[in-house]
């Protein structure tokens, strides 16, 4: 547990120091004016914590947190002005939270339909019109805003240092909540989405719903911050939600480091601290912040936190043990000396047998996959033409063919990434071709991607455990609040992930950041992630490409064991000897059509296959010891092109 835990602990310590300093701040200076300034900083720091949830955790481009802040602030101020005797801090906070949630839903739902920079521009537009509309509406006090100071009936029960400490208490709660959220299955969903929408969909995450959840959750701290602003500053005017606020909060998140719990808090204290306490800078302030914002966005996307950690810099040096040259040497020795026992990776045979129970398809009965007469056209290209195949539970079915023959397209059709143009795809009774990718994943269909889609800034274990927790049982709320059931589910996900890593021979690298791993290990990591969700059907997209000899051995064993547990495996692969050793049944695609189906022996004897696909290199199929993957696949590719 070195890399990641050390990082977490450091983050906790810095947060602890910051909060302690904030609690002790009144010792320095406790006149009313200063306290109000501190309370203002607490309020906007809450907004930054919120923005980080949607931008940092879920990777959605929101630029206008000030819009929600403004709406919630006016809601709280109008209420406090109309019901001055009822307006205590807790009620206002609740009101702010509700107003922010409602506004979040109304703004988020349309803006997220397109997503991307549409979301950024739409939220920015809201941030611009909230103060401009408020400055002409009578309800919000028009251009003079709402002043609770001039409302003689409004007499806050709290004040002075006590109020300030309470505000800091709220900030601590928000930070803890943000941490719990990040490390829950909800947070895992967000991070999968931030990393790649395809990855998230393959794990059963419904994109729109998850983005909207992130957006609404990000509104919560902003709403509470707005209520604290109203209660402590005792006014809310159009300038309180100036569009510049949005840009400062965004700057705070980016400068501090988006995606971590600490980053936005640190950044907010820096940005708003300078804003409030360095008056001399005022005239240069926007220029300085602009330059800092651009500089961090371009040069150091992980902010100050990333700088401290050293993960912000892009140079990913491999630790000596992972030097690719050494892995290369390992392979050469293995081939040269005819050695079969892999050196660096745990031999699959030594893995404990108890694994089987953990990774077996969970109590779902395992039906067959049926692809029947499926077609898919892209423009004028008929990429998949009348393809049928069946994958029975517990068998390995391989799909081979030259580049562009439609193998991956078939995989994408099955897993719901593309819509079919004709035919049908079923798993038992379920019509997969009518489902979105997320729904398909819910049926226990796991897939890997040709280009590994692991989250680079997480460890291998975090990646796999995250997937397991997203797909595993348990309740979202329980997971965030760490109820006993939630903790059990998290622990179980961790165990399953560990087992999956052990089984793929990656146990030694569990705590290594993915960014530091060489390509072959990432590819195996993809397989481990797919296994960790106990799939009933496993779709593997060229898992063997670029693997070393020993890694190939691991992969071979892993696939065999998955099949032995009853999982159906559909294997798309260029490494022909690997396929012929492993598969019970092989389907050969050529230009989108099935030219042959059968057992390896039948395919071996099929003249059409030899003619169209393998050319004069037929003798290679007979190889028992797999030659290096690169060579054979390039031979096959060339044959396919010819």
């Amino acid at each position: 547990m070195k890399t990641r835990t050390g990082r977490n602990r450091r983050e906790m310590i810095v947060l602890g120091v910051i909060f302690a300093a904030l609690f002790l701040l009144p010792l320095l200076n406790n006149n009313t004016f200063r306290l109000q300034q501190y309370e203002y900083i607490v309020a906007v720091t809450l907004v930054a914590i919120g923005l980080n949830i949607v931008v940092g955790y879920a990777g959605q481009l929101v630029l206008g947190p000030g819009g929600i802040f403004g709406i919630a602030g006016y809601a709280a101020a109008v209420f406090a002005n109309d019901h001055p005797s009822d307006a205590d801090l807790i009620l206002l906070c609740l009101l702010g939270l509700v107003a922010a949630s409602v506004a979040g839903l109304i703004i988020g739902a349309p803006a997220l339909r397109v997503g991307g920079f549409y979301l950024g521009m739409a939220t920015l537009a809201i941030a611009v019109i909230v103060p401009s509309v408020a400055s002409v509406m009578n309800l919000t006090g028009a251009s003079t805003g709402i002043s609770l100071l001039s409302n003689l009936e409004f007499s806050p029960k709290l004040g002075g240092v006590g109020l300030y400490e309470l505000c800091v208490g709220v900030l601590v709660i928000a930070a803890v909540w943000s941490w719990l959220l990040l490390h829950s299955r909800v947070g895992h969903r967000f991070q999968a989405l931030a990393n790649s929408e395809d990855l998230a969909a393959s794990l059963g995450v419904i994109g729109f719903r998850t983005k909207l959840l992130a957006f609404v959750l990000s509104a919560w701290p902003a709403g509470v911050g707005a209520a604290i602003y109203v209660y402590t500053q005792q006014f809310f005017v159009p300038d309180s939600a100036d569009p510049n606020l949005s840009i400062y909060v965004l700057a705070a998140c980016i400068i501090g480091g988006v995606g971590s719990v600490l980053g936005p808090i640190l950044g907010s204290l820096v940005v708003f601290g300078i804003n409030e306490f360095l008056g001399g800078l005022a005239q240069w302030q926007d220029i300085v912040f602009g330059v800092l914002l651009a500089g961090f966005a371009i040069l150091c996307p992980e902010g100050i936190v990333g700088l401290i950690d050293g993960t912000g810099t892009r140079t990913l040096t491999l630790p000596p043990a992972l030097d690719p040259r050494r892995l290369l040497n390992t392979r050469r020795t293995a081939v040269d000396h005819g050695e079969v026992t892999p050196r660096r990776h745990r031999a699959p045979a030594t893995t404990p047998v108890t694994l089987d129970a953990e990774l077996a398809p969970s109590s779902r009965e395992t039906p067959s996959l049926n692809v029947s007469r499926v077609s898919k056209t892209f423009g004028a290209v008929r990429a998949v033409d009348d393809v049928s195949l069946t994958v029975a539970p517990g068998t390995v079915h391989a799909l081979i063919g030259s580049n562009g023959s439609g193998k991956t397209t078939v995989l994408n059709l099955i897993s719901g990434f593309y819509r079919i143009d004709g035919g049908q795809i079923t798993l038992g009774e379920a019509r997969l071709d009518r489902m979105s990718a997320g729904r398909v994943a819910h049926l226990g269909i796991a897939r890997t991607f040709q280009a590994p889609k692991l989250i680079l800034r997480q460890t291998l274990l975090e990646n796999v455990a995250g997937a397991a927790s997203i797909q595993g049982g348990g309740h979202d709320l329980g997971s965030v609040l760490r109820t006993p059931a939630g903790i059990r589910a998290a622990r179980h996900a961790n165990e399953v992930a560990r087992d999956a890593l052990e089984e793929t021979g990656l146990g030694d690298f569990a705590h290594e950041l993915v960014a530091r791993l060489p390509h072959g290990l990432r590819r195996l990591g993809e397989v481990a992630r797919a296994l960790a969700v106990s799939p009933s059907l496993l779709l593997l997209d060229e898992p063997a490409a670029g693997l070393t000899h020993s890694e190939l051995e691991s992969l071979d064993a892993v696939i065999r064991r998955a099949a032995a547990r009853g999982t159906g495996v559909l294997l798309v692969e260029h490494n022909v000897p690997f396929v012929f050793r492993l598969a019970e049944e092989i389907t050969v695609l050529h230009l989108g059509q099935v030219i042959s189906t059968g057992t390896p022996e039948q395919i071996r004897g099929d003249d059409a296959v030899a003619e169209a696909f393998l050319g004069s290199q037929r003798e290679l199929i007979g190889d028992v010891v797999p030659p290096p993957a690169g060579r054979i696949s390039s031979v096959v590719k060339e044959a396919g092109r010819g």
Partner: protein
């Protein structure tokens, strides 16, 4: 139809022309670089402020002022390309940094302009045109409106010609269609990116110069126009010139017709509501087919 409404429609087309010049800037840059340049509104503001500087402060003649304004805005646009955008073009597909970087650039430019302008209210910018309105029957409009719409139409025609006829324009279209294939074909994508920012800068400069007499010297208008230009695009459909033109003119007309019946203070709010409604009903806009998802 009521004559007030007809006059509002004419005024709307002129206002739409302004949005259109910004929307075209977005489109040209996006097609050339796959980047949505948030600073487009700020470049427009720069055009307005430079016009104010040349015409009101320095009393330079119109022809010299036009050259200075266009050169100035185009230069800043090219600086943005070099400093902000190029680092992101080198490493493709990395998160949301580029978007924030263009916002940061807009903030910097605006802060510098405010600093140079000083803290005083907006001032009028002298117009070369007669201020008396033109009457045709009961319809009336101003020379200023003719100039605005004329400038927009001229820019559109020039761009269509450029894209369709010239070799460079065709290369830009190829880049827009498929960046990788364009590169394989030997198109220098970096030059295309510079060219896109040059064209967008010129469009913003023309817009700023033409509208300066109406909007006055207000250095804070950048963000507003950035948003209105975006709404125009979202209405018309992102990525196509046709969408940008129709969306911009449509938005201008809706806005001006609304002003006849409603409270003009809510003008921008109405545009935003329109945006939300369109996103709910037809997220890709009227002519849109393009998924604006690759960030």
């Amino acid at each position: 139809m009521d004559r007030i409404v007809i006059n509002a429609i004419i005024a709307g087309l002129a206002v739409g022309g302004v949005y259109g010049l910004i929307a075209i800037g977005y489109t040209v840059v996006y097609n050339g670089t796959r980047i949505f340049n948030l600073a487009q509104g700020t470049l427009f503001m720069l055009g307005v402020m430079l016009s104010y500087f040349c015409l009101d402060k320095e009393h330079w003649p119109q022809w010299l002022s036009i050259i200075v304004v266009l050169a100035g805005v185009a230069a800043v646009s090219l600086i943005e390309e070099a400093v902000i955008v190029r680092p992101f073009l080198k490493r493709r597909g990395e998160g949301i940094g580029w978007f924030i970087a263009t916002l940061a650039f807009a903030t910097i430019i605006q802060a510098i302009v405010i600093r140079l302008y000083g803290d005083h209210p907006p001032e009028p910018v002298p117009s070369p045109l007669p201020s008396s309105p033109i009457f045709i029957g009961f319809v009336h409009f101003t020379w200023q409106q003719v100039l605005t719409l004329g400038a927009f139409v001229a820019v559109c025609v020039l761009l269509f010609w450029f894209y369709k006829v010239t070799w460079v324009g065709q290369a830009m279209r190829a880049t827009a269609a498929d960046r990788e294939v364009a590169m394989l074909r030997g198109i220098d994508v970096r030059r295309i990116s510079q060219l896109a920012f040059l064209i967008a800068g010129l469009a913003a400069g023309i817009g700023g110069y033409v509208v300066a007499p109406i909007v006055f010297s207000d250095p804070s208008i950048g963000l507003n126009y950035a948003i209105l230009g975006f709404i125009a695009l979202a209405l018309g459909g992102f990525g196509s010139m046709r969408g940008a033109i129709v969306g911009a003119l449509g938005l201008g007309v809706v806005e001006q017709v609304y002003d006849v019946y409603g409270n003009a203070s809510y003008e921008t709010a109405v545009s935003v509501v329109l945006l939300i409604v369109v996103l709910l009903i037809r997220p890709t806009g009227v002519f849109g087919s393009l998924k604006a998802r690759e960030v």
